[in-house]
């Protein structure tokens, strides 16, 4: 018997729910929860939901990104970032989740799924340190 992964479940849920009307959806979702409970998969629910979120974003061309910065981003920077990320990751638009972290010292750190673009000062100083100690 092949194992049913969280990815398989999330995809199945998305395909089932995708083109349904709101009333159809609510009964369908109830059934899905019952199914998960019956198969003892409720403990996996957070992982399935996270994967479902990713699948929906992929399908609709939304790039979900987490951004860390020292100060709050200005509207202009945000607009630029959204454009850049949408282009870089081939989506229609990007959704930013902003976080503040004074430890970065300056610059940004952007995370999209498991890819990280580290443009913060802390990282650069670290790189300089390894460069100087190695040479």
């Amino acid at each position: 018997m092949s194992k049913i992964s969280n990815d398989n479940l999330a995809r199945a849920i998305y395909l089932a729910v995708k083109d349904k009307t709101p009333t159809e959806r609510s009964s369908l979702l109830r059934n899905i929860v019952k199914f998960l409970a019956k198969k003892k998969l409720l403990a996996q629910a957070p992982k399935i939901l996270a994967r479902l979120g990713q699948i929906i974003n992929e399908d609709q061309g939304v790039v979900a990104a987490k951004v860390w910065s020292v100060e709050k981003l200005s509207a202009r920077t945000k607009g630029k970032l959204v454009d850049f990320l949408a282009r870089r990751f081939g989506g229609k638009t990007a959704v930013l989740e902003e976080n503040l972290d004074a430890g970065l010292l300056g610059g940004y750190k952007i995370e999209v799924q498991d890819e990280v673009l580290d443009l913060c000062l802390k990282n650069r100083i670290g790189q300089l340190q390894t460069h100087l100690t190695r040479s």
Partner: protein, 508 residues
């Protein structure tokens, strides 16, 4: 004085400025994962979607690991170093590189750990290149058949179980039967033989390793030796890695056309370390709880031993893996695996060891599949009859215990056998040069020792070698240079043996 300090500080500042100018921070998108769980020496990491098998990963605290298990939503990683510093949620970066070890000529004479870093307290090793730890073994077209001997300096091996350059010969036996001693003796005998030695200690006590290093240094053998150490206190992942690091260093020297001897001490501990890693990574256990690919673990390692032909640069790697058996059981999983991979085995026995036959080689069970092609002509000549003598002796020995009335021929064979066993005994750390071995075995097989009492054979041998030093120079020269004696040399040897024997028998 002040101005000197000033110029020095100026220099430092200038250098620093130059370095900073040269530095350009690379901006690149990195694949990053997060640690989900940490077991003993292994971790499960989420993310890292495009990682390759055996790719190196870097943990946020500077430790390195290698991705071994690629699963649908996680990656199983083995950690090299102190895994207790890694916590759940730590960042893990994919490096895009397969694990490599730094190599260079300066590594000779040093003791390094499983990732190639020095552990002998003699400072950094200047290295010029890196070599991949996992590499596909050389193909058929690049190889050449083995025909050049590795002179181990141990009479019983050089005469009966010869080892050739590029061969893989297993040393197998219970604990305390002298397996490591054979290996160390072999290294000691390589002085001036153009053979670089690599000793890989896997799961050995640090005290034992220290002793070996000291012995090698005393014998002047560290000049051409590298020790790769993964001690008993280190994690299973380092033990698993050590032999591959060793063979990567060996390949560096082989690529320069040099001959290399590598000793894996021992592969049973290596298999146990791999079993530990595999079980922690939840790979299914098989026979004796070893994972299914434990054969491949050793076969891919030992296949990298080879003799390359001149067209592809020459050079060779001779491998001497060591396996420790439990109560002489050679039919256990790992011993049978390694026996089938190697080109022969040297079988050491506890019983022989306690009978005083040291090295405790069981001549009947030991074989070398390369055989006489890896012997010089002179040795071939004397060893041929020796093998026969010993085989007949073993057969008759059992019968001889029952009957006292034996015919002349049987008695003669028994006496010859007893003397052969005596001659093949050899103390530890006393390797004998090839031409001297040939001379002693010549005396034995030509019957010169038949009327010397068995208990005096050792004294006879010792005295004979001393006497020949001065009185068989031509013979020694011929064997060393042309690998075979001429009639002139043989006559000289016969005369010298005759003179010495007369002298010896009248004195004793």
């Amino acid at each position: 004085m002040v101005s000197r300090i000033e110029t020095m500080s100026n220099q430092i500042v200038e250098n620093l400025k130059k370095e900073i100018e040269n530095f350009s921070a690379e901006v690149k998108v990195e694949k990053v994962g997060k640690v989900l769980e940490v077991f003993d020496g292994t971790a499960k990491v989420s993310g890292l979607s495009d990682i390759r098998a055996s790719e190196m990963v870097a943990f946020s605290n500077g430790l390195f690991g290698v991705a071994l298990n690629l699963e649908e939503d996680a990656v199983g990683v083995i950690i090299f170093g102190d895994f207790s510093k890694i916590q759940e949620g730590d960042e893990v970066k994919a490096t895009g590189k397969i694990l490599e070890v730094s190599v260079g000529d300066d590594i000779l004479g040093r003791v390094v750990n499983a990732i190639g870093a020095p552990v002998d307290g003699q400072g950094v090793i200047k290295t010029s290149k890196t070599y991949p730890i996992e590499r596909v073994a050389p193909g058929v077209v690049t190889r050449q058949s083995v025909d050049k001997p590795v002179a181990t300096g141990i009479k019983v091996i050089d005469a009966i179980i010869p080892i050739g350059r590029g061969q893989r010969e297993l040393i197998i036996g219970d604990r305390q039967t002298g397996k490591t001693a054979l290996a160390v003796d072999t290294i000691l005998n390589q002085k001036g033989q153009n053979l670089i030695c690599i000793y890989v200690a896997i799961g050995q006590k640090d005290s034992k390793l220290r002793k070996i290093e000291k012995r090698l240094a005393e014998g002047g053998a560290m000049d051409y030796t590298v020790i790769v150490s993964a001690g008993a206190s280190e994690s299973a992942s380092l033990l698993y890695l050590a032999p591959y690091t060793g063979v990567a260093i060996a390949e560096y020297f082989m690529d320069q056309g040099k001959d290399v001897l590598i000793i894996y001490d021992d592969l049973s501990k290596h298999a146990v370390a791999y079993r530990e890693i595999s079980l922690l990574l939840r790979r299914p256990p098989g026979r004796e709880a070893f994972p299914g690919d434990v054969f491949y673990l050793h076969s891919r390692l030992l296949e990298r031993a080879c003799r390359r032909n001149e067209k592809y640069g020459g050079g060779s790697i001779t491998a001497l893996p060591i396996i420790e058996t439990q109560a002489g059981d050679v039919t256990a999983y790992i011993p049978t695996n390694v026996i089938s991979i190697t080109d022969g085995q040297i079988f050491l026995e506890t019983d022989l060891f306690y009978k005083g036959i040291r090295p405790a080689v069981n001549v009947g069970l030991s074989v070398s599949r390369v055989g006489a092609t890896a012997q010089i002509k002179a040795m071939k000549k004397v060893a041929g009859t020796l093998k026969l003598d010993l085989a007949q002796y073993r057969e008759l020995e059992a019968f001889a215990q029952f009957g006292s009335d034996l015919d002349e021929n049987t008695k003669r064979l028994l006496e010859r056998g007893k003397r052969a066993v005596e001659v093949l005994k050899q103390p530890q750390y006393m390797p004998v040069k090839m031409e001297r071995q040939v001379a002693v075995l010549y005396a034995l097989t030509q019957g010169w020792m038949d009327d010397v009492p068995v208990e005096k054979i050792k004294a006879f041998e010792e005295g004979l070698l001393n006497y020949l030093e001065r009185n068989a120079k031509t013979f020694y020269k011929e064997v060393t240079e042309k690998q075979m004696w001429t009639e002139k040399g043989e006559a000289e040897l016969k005369k010298a043996i005759g003179e010495f024997k007369n002298n010896f028998l009248t004195k004793n």
